[in-house]
């Protein structure tokens, strides 16, 4: 009876632990969207032709995706402001280390009587932090043909053309939902 109860609760704990681990993995990546609780893009005008574009991913979003989406937003912004190409003045990808959670199994030894017991327990394991990425792009937008020999200059139209499959694909079929 006692033994059963212990087994059951042990089993329950294992199931809960497993469920928690699965839930953490099951989160879907941040879609291409304006920034909200789950990440997204944001932009800030710094000068009449200069913007800072930010894309923040959640912990299920890969670094490549975060970089692509920031670049896509930069291109979109360039066209929206009536320009043709942009120049990346500075680019930074910041890894964000989130909360470190852990359920560590341990082993305890103690002594007790009645409903009271004392013991010592040691944990055998550690936690794993959540990682996510934020990309910051400082860009200057320009009109006209992009200069041939400028490595930092991107044709907005071309970037949109190339990255569109990655951007719309990530919305999981809701292709019409690409934010304005």
């Amino acid at each position: 009876m006692i033994c059963n109860f212990r087994r059951l609760s042990f089993l329950a704990a294992s199931v809960v632990g497993l469920a928690m681990a699965l839930a953490a993995c099951a989160a879907s990546p941040t879609p291409y969207q304006a920034v909200g609780d789950d990440g997204g893009y944001a932009d800030q005008q710094l000068e009449s032709d200069r913007y800072r574009v930010t894309f923040e991913g959640n912990d299920a979003t890969s670094r490549e995706t975060v970089e692509d989406f920031a670049l896509y937003r930069a291109a979109e912004l360039t066209l929206q402001t009536g320009n043709d190409y942009f120049r990346v003045v500075s680019k930074e990808v910041e890894p964000i280390i989130g909360a470190v959670r852990g359920v560590s199994p341990g082993i305890g030894i103690g002594i007790g009587t009645g409903n009271v017991g004392f013991g010592l327990s040691t944990a055998l394991g550690g936690g794993r932090p959540d990682y996510s990425y934020v990309t910051y792009l400082d860009i200057i937008v320009y009109e006209g043909e992009k200069p041939e020999n400028d490595r930092e200059a991107y044709s907005a139209f071309d970037v949109i053309e190339r990255l569109k499959p990655a951007v719309t694909g990530s919305v999981d079929g809701d292709e019409g939902e690409v934010a304005e």
Partner: protein, 175 residues
Amino acid sequence: MFSSSAWGRPWLAIAPLLFLISACAMETPYQPGEGGYGYEEQQIEGNRYRVIFAGNPSTPRETVQNYLLYRSAELTLQNGFDYFTVVDRDVERSTRYYSHGYVDDFGFHNRFRGRSFRRFYRPSFYSSKAYPVSEYSSIANIVMAEGEKPKDEPNAYDALDVVQQLQPLIRQNAE
């Protein structure tokens, strides 16, 4: 130490959080830092300055960047110049962790009924969570100049333009 059951103890999780929130709920305003949070500058030579903005843990990185740029522009105008060139820039992040945890140990209540002292061995689970709290400080070396900013220099900023764009974002301390 064993506890009888720790499943229903949300207050354990909330207590350190409440402490954190009460400790630093306000963003660093646009203010001189004087060694703490805020902006600071050092003249290196005639028209060259090092500008720093340090934000507290509630201040987002973007805000720190905006305030640094705004301070650089303001300083340029105050010195009678028109534009500044950012020679180098850096953002630094420092992170501290706050953690809490508790031990779950199962099936304790029925264990010793009607018995005298008895040894026990049992599995336990130590559940823990550590919260990172980061603060950013931003630093730039700038060179100021008079006249129109050069067209082909991406690191040159028109001071008046920057002030106009960022003005709406500047939050100063209410006197």
